[in-house]
Amino acid sequence: MLETERMSKITIAVSKIKQKEVIKTLHDLKVLHIVEHKKTEELDIGTPIGSSEKIAELLVKITSILSESKEAVSKEELDSINRTQNLTQNTGNAGFSLEEIEAKVTEVETIIKEKKEIISKIDASASKKKELIQKLDVLNSLYLNLESYKLFKSIACFVGTIKHKEGLKDGLEKVTGTFKLHTSQNCKDLVVALFVDRKKEKEALEVLKQYNFTELELNFIEDMKGLPLSHITRLNSELQKQISEKNAIIKNIETVKSKNIEILYQYKKFLSIEAEKAEAPLTFGQTKEAVIITGWAPSKRVDKITEKLENVTNNRISIEQVAPDKHESVPIKLKNNLIVKPFEFFMNLYTLPTYKEIDPSFFIFLTFPIFFGFMLGDVGYGIATLLLFLILKRLIPAAKDLLKAMMACSYWSILFGFMFGEYFGFEYVKSHAWQTIIETLKLPLHKELIEGAKSEIVYEFPRLINRMHGEVNVLGNEINLVLVIGAIIGVFHINLSILLGFINEWKGHGLKTAILARASWYVFEVGLGIIALKSLGLITISNYIGIALFIISVIMIYLGEGAQGIIEIPSIFSNTLSYLRLGAVGLASVGLAVVINEKLAMPFMEKGGIFILISILILIVGHGINIALGIIGPFLHAIRLHYVEFFMRFYKGGGKPFKPFGANANNDEESE
């Protein structure tokens, strides 16, 4: 529980002929964390299995088809596909042959390709037609028959747009007497058509150019006859037909895709597993005839691996346990029972322990929910959050672990809620509203008189600690009880942290370092305690003992941790005081709840009638907000107390996670 999974390093040597079977077995077992082989003089890096290129190619093709169709397929469909995929996976994935996959993929691909070619042809012709329509639109406003533009060889014709036409006619008259000018206002431009004697063509063009003339090439007319409008209508109807044609083809493609999408997803899954297997030899070492696989496996599974591999290869295999290098980092697999397991989430979030370190998951399991519960501490809020986490657990399976941990927090909230006697921020009920209920049910509630402007009798809920008003006398100061409890928890938590630090140092660097760097803090505390108690006059031991212990401890800390340790001495106080937040966060939450109940909702409630509805609304919204704050605040503060104050004295972390060969395929869905 406190240790991570013990690992053994093993080396497998097997003939190349049996390589495929070995890879398959290891992939199915999912227990070997393969260490990548580095090329040496004797051992080359392995070569991928023959079909790996083909697999990769098919995988790329399928991915590209699927990535295009993602928009076309609705989310529900994808979900149902994922579900069926999982089913097939669980039943052992009836294998596919590469030929089968290739045939199907090529089929789908060619269909899509053909249809896409047709679409691009349609697109090209449609854009041509659109252009033509635009040009015809310009001519349309002149109301001239199309054949008239090219009727005579001796007459030149200019069609185009100009900026304005003031004085154009006069200008042209100066150049030539024989011309005919048509102008017409198009929706945005002034369209002009000028028929002029071919001899005076150049001069007329010069005149037009002064009016910003943009010429329209008339070649497109070719053999079109009649008014432009009739052509425009014809082209438009043709265009319409093409668009509907195109839409039909697009729809066709989608049906082809969605018909095949399920099988394509299955192929993808299958191929990615195959690809992983085919490329596995890249992490192996190889000689001419054999491959050598090195990796880490949980010690208790080594026998089983050996047995299985020997079975597959008819004992023609050598499996050896080897001693790891001194500085080699061992892959980390946390090992906790079912109850503690959800709390591994917090380790994954922070950093995994190294192989020699204690796995703190168990301690987080012990204290995290208590801290959270102590801060939230309200029966109503506890039940509300519990329901919320239950619902979320159903909705988001990926966050299952975190939510399980949070549910433990809710249980503690309810427990502390009973201790504090708080129910949605209510600490008592008023007698006139509840008297009959309380007396008929014979509830053991304490009757109390609240004196003030309006004295009234209330029924207090039973409680051990009054969070809002409970105070204790510490050295002559009245201090809120929950704050003091927070600090006391802090002292215990930090001392536990020092103890764990001692064990870690002992395992990692030996007893001497452990005593100097960690046990010294206990000496420090004892020395300081004696000095403090003596100055308060509570004990009669000589002060010199305290001072001596204090000095000794400082020297020990210096020897153990260097100057950094000395700098850290004040931090032990601030860290302990940091646990005051356990009480303070809770007080804030209670304070807000009381304000919602008594200052916001009550005045409306007392007015009666329609105002009761308003007060209920205030209660729902107010407590909703307070619960949201009550989850975020205590969560962050509790986690921080662990990561900072608790971990500081014993935990370094930095372990690499244990990733057994073959495990990726299973977690695909989660990681995506």
């Binding site: 979030l349 922070y350 950093t351 002559g476 100061n477 009245e478 201090i479 809120n480 704050l483 931090s571 601030s574 005081l577 940091s578 005051l580 937040r581 303070a584 921080r640 990561y643 900072v644 971990f647 500081m648 972390g653 930095g654």
Partner: protein, 73 residues
């Protein structure tokens, strides 16, 4: 009564100002830590610890506030 009011103001100043100070200090560290985390996710632990270092100021502020209120007691 006036005295109690002054004590309350004193306590709230002790706590409020120290909270503002911690906020200013944490602002920059937090921004840098998030930046570093975006580059390298493993830095979460270190980033968190560095970010919360100034929080000590608030805690001392809280303690002082409690002591001031205790004076009123």
């Amino acid at each position: 009564m006036a005295e109690a009011g002054l004590i309350a103001i004193g306590a709230s100043l002790a706590f409020g100002l120290s909270a503002i100070a911690a906020g200013i200090a944490e602002k920059q560290i937090g921004a840098a830590a998030v930046g570093a985390m975006a580059e390298k996710e493993e830095l979460f632990g270190k980033g968190l610890i560095l970010t919360v270092i100034p929080e000590t100021i608030v805690i001392f502020g809280l303690v002082v506030a409690i002591l001031i209120i205790g004076m009123a007691g």
